[in-house]
């Protein structure tokens, strides 16, 4: 589904990704781990098409399409979803009103008729249970006055409604207490299926206790320096990143 080859990315002329390779197939969950400043969030933002990230070399192939020239809203309609590390507040814009606009923009793109208000509300009612999001939050302004945990749950709720093919979760576990983490993880697990790939960007292996990945990658200094299975994350927790760094240097 996703094939990244020798990707080099600069931000403000500073090279952050320095030859990253990654292949993700449908149905898989990949965890990207790494210390601060290794390029994890850059990878998430580049995949989503954020401005200010310049690809200087290499390629990103998504479902046989070159992502580099694709506008962010088109990527979204093609099924790429980014759960933000810091979801922004948009005062005055109703949470589910925005989501309805998003759903219908995608439906229009794939040639389906827009959902009417009743159909959309039924969809919302079904999905909101997955993340146990309080219904009163649905009609508030986007993320305004949400707690940290509510913001993250709102992201997963949006993911559930938009049903992406490729979901990138950027540090979705950060700032969550253990109960909130479990709820978010359950929500994500319920969205795992054969056609959907998920990339978890995280600092901590804690999340992987609840969302068990198929593969774990260690990102360091703009490159993936080690890949493995679930056990790699546990070993990282035990030995720290220095262990992989020295191994990679050797």
């Amino acid at each position: 589904m996703l094939n990244i080859k020798n990707l080099h990315v600069t931000v403000d002329d500073k090279e952050i990704l320095k030859g990253l390779d990654l292949t993700v197939n449908a149905g898989e969950v990949h965890a990207i781990m790494g210390p601060n400043g290794s390029g994890k969030s850059t990878l998430a933002n580049v995949l989503a098409g954020r401005e200010g990230y310049t690809i200087t070399k290499g390629s990103i192939d998504y479902e046989g399409k070159d992502l580099s020239g694709m506008a962010p809203e088109v990527r979204a309609r093609e099924g790429i979803f980014l759960a933000f590390q810091y979801p922004v507040e948009i005062p005055g814009v109703n949470n589910i009103y925005m989501l309805k606009a998003a759903v219908n923009a995608k439906r229009e793109y794939i040639g389906e008729p827009p959902l009417d208000a009743v159909e959309f509300l039924n969809l919302v009612k079904e999905k909101v249970k997955l993340v146990k999001l309080k219904e009163e939050l649905l009609n508030r302004s986007v993320n305004e006055g949400f707690s940290g945990g509510e913001k993250k749950r709102n992201e997963i709720f949006q993911m559930a409604v938009l049903e992406p093919r490729l979901a990138i979760l950027d540090e979705t576990d950060s700032g969550l207490d253990i109960d909130a983490l479990k709820i978010v993880a359950e929500g994500v697990n319920s969205l795992r299926n054969r056609d959907r790939a998920i990339i978890l960007v995280t600092h901590y292996q804690r999340l992987l206790n609840y969302i068990v990945p198929d593969q774990v990658h260690v990102l360091f200094d703009g490159r993936i320096i080690k890949s493995g299975h679930r056990e790699l994350a546990l070993k990282l927790e035990e030995k720290g990143y220095d262990w992989v760094k020295s191994e990679a240097a050797a």
């Binding site: 580049v46 954020r50 809203e73 922004v88 948009i90 925005m98 998003a102």
Partner: protein, 482 residues
């Protein structure tokens, strides 16, 4: 990486939709202003002597006055001798007696603007007075209103049919010599709308005036007078458009509202005068004096305005809160794009006891535009327990525009409570990207964010107007993301 679908600077700018010109024969006086011109206008309108005297007095005052220069706007001096002060579509008789007699070309103009004057096609519940250049061309639903005792007609007609009411209230809120442009208007005003709601009457429908400047080199100087007698209620809407022209045109209107005991007036404006082109050429100078007088106890006047047009906007719809327990409200969205300039706000003058006022102002600037909020809250010595709440928010789009806030607060009574909140924000790239990552296009995202920003004001507008206002905002800001 080319993450953007388009360079915003080259985004197709939607043209001003109402910029067409109606080719119609009109009676237009030669440019220039003197006592003869004023007498000509007065004669044309078959006015009583007292009104001509009133005009001339205003004119003589005006000659002594200086053009105000304190507003945060910049424009070359206006040559008041180069403006024609009277232009009217030619009519076969003295004027149309009914809609059937109105020139079909005029009806067509209003159709194009989305204001059908044929009553059967009108939105149920809205009566319209259409003002074309200097004269009112049609007023709809007159009979139905008359059944309720409501008088709604053109100003000229009111002078003929209800001279006692006009004489009693004209200039009682905005005196003829109030300010430079009000004095000019008092001297040369040509038409406008008049409305009287009798005691204990709830006006059975929304009243609306639609202003259209058509002829070139003319100014539009209309006058609106609304009197809500004791215990009455009226909701009044005002809309405006003009053709696209390279020269600037002057619009200097006066609006006076009078609310007696327990009366309530809700006045809404969607102002969409031609704003000039992208380089700032042409457009309307909108120098307007609007004031409401809460004369009676428990009276209420509420101004809601959405200002998207005009090259320069200079207006401060105000409330004189004279009656005890009276309430004044001002809800405003002012949008400026390209080289538009707006200096707008309100004045709340608390005179009676327990008077309350609320000001919600939302300014949006894009392009090279300058947007200023200027507001005065004055609590006079006798105004016990007066309360004011002011909230001014500015939204900037791009980095070449400006937002300014000039609040003036004068409290002479120790029991006053005055609150002022102000914020300035930029449409965040983060907000835009968040929406776009969900599949929403950049333009839709901007619209959504801007409408969210204006929500508190839009909810004060009558339904149809709120929809129109949202659309207008979209058109005005198209391509403004930076």
């Amino acid at each position: 990486m080319a993450t953007k679908t388009h360079d915003v600077e080259t985004l197709v700018k939607k043209e001003y939709e109402h910029g067409f010109f109606t080719d119609i024969e009109s009676d237009t006086v030669a440019p220039g202003l003197n006592e003869d011109v004023i007498a000509f206008i007065s004669r044309k309108k078959n006015e009583p002597d007292w009104l001509l005297e009133w005009r001339l007095k205003a004119y003589r005052h005006w000659l002594e006055m200086e053009e105000p220069r304190w507003a945060h706007v910049h424009y070359p001096p206006i040559d008041f001798q180069d403006i024609s002060y009277y232009s009217a579509p030619k009519t076969k008789q003295d004027g149309p007696k009914s809609l059937d007699e109105v020139d079909p070309k005029l009806l067509e103009t209003y159709e194009k603007l989305g204001i059908p004057l044929h009553e059967q096609k009108l939105l149920a519940g809205v009566a319209v007075d259409a003002v074309f250049d200097s004269v009112s061309v049609a007023t709809t639903f007159k009979e139905k209103l008359a059944d309720a005792g409501v008088i709604f007609c053109s100003f000229s007609e009111a002078v003929q049919e209800h001279p006692e009411l006009v004489r009693q209230y004209l200039g009682s809120v905005v005196p003829a010599a109030d300010n430079f442009y009000a004095a000019l208007n008092s001297a040369v005003f040509t038409d406008g709308s008049f409305c009287y709601i009798p005691k204990n009457t709830r006006c059975p429908m929304e009243l609306s005036t639609y202003f259209r400047i058509n002829a070139s080199k003319t100014g539009q100087f209309e006058r609106t007078l609304i009197v809500a007698d004791e215990g009455s209620y009226v909701s009044y809407l005002e809309g405006c458009t003009a053709p696209m022209r390279d020269e600037n045109q002057l619009h200097a209107a006066v609006v006076e509202l009078v609310a007696l005991d327990n009366a309530s007036i809700k006045y809404s404006t969607v102002q969409n005068w031609y704003p000039g082109d992208e380089e700032g050429k042409g457009g309307i100078y909108n120098f307007v004096t609007k004031r409401g007088d809460c004369r009676g106890v428990n009276s209420r006047i509420s101004w809601t305005q959405v200002e998207t047009g005009s090259a320069i906007t200079w207006k401060y719809p105000s409330c004189l809160l004279k009656g005890d327990n009276s309430v004044g409200e001002f809800y405003s969205v002012a949008v400026t794009n390209n080289y538009q300039q707006a200096d707008t706000g309100t004045k709340m003058i608390h005179i009676g006891k327990n008077t309350r006022s609320t000001i919600i102002s939302k300014g949006i600037s894009a392009g090279h535009a300058e947007n200023a909020y200027r507001g005065l809250v004055r609590i006079t010595a006798k105004a016990e327990n007066a309360r004011n709440y002011t909230q001014c928010d500015s939204l900037l789009m791009g980095d070449k525009c400006g937002a300014h806030t000039f609040p003036y607060i004068e409290a002479k009574n120790a029991s006053a409570q005055v609150e002022h909140e102000a914020t300035t924000s930029k449409i965040g790239d983060d907000q835009l990207f968040y929406c776009m990552q969900r599949g929403i296009s950049e333009e839709d995202a901007v619209n959504m964010i801007v409408n969210g920003f204006c929500k508190e004001v839009f909810k004060e507008l009558p339904m149809e107007f709120a929809v129109e206002a949202q659309k207008l905002l979209g058109v005005t800001l198209e391509g403004a993301v930076g």
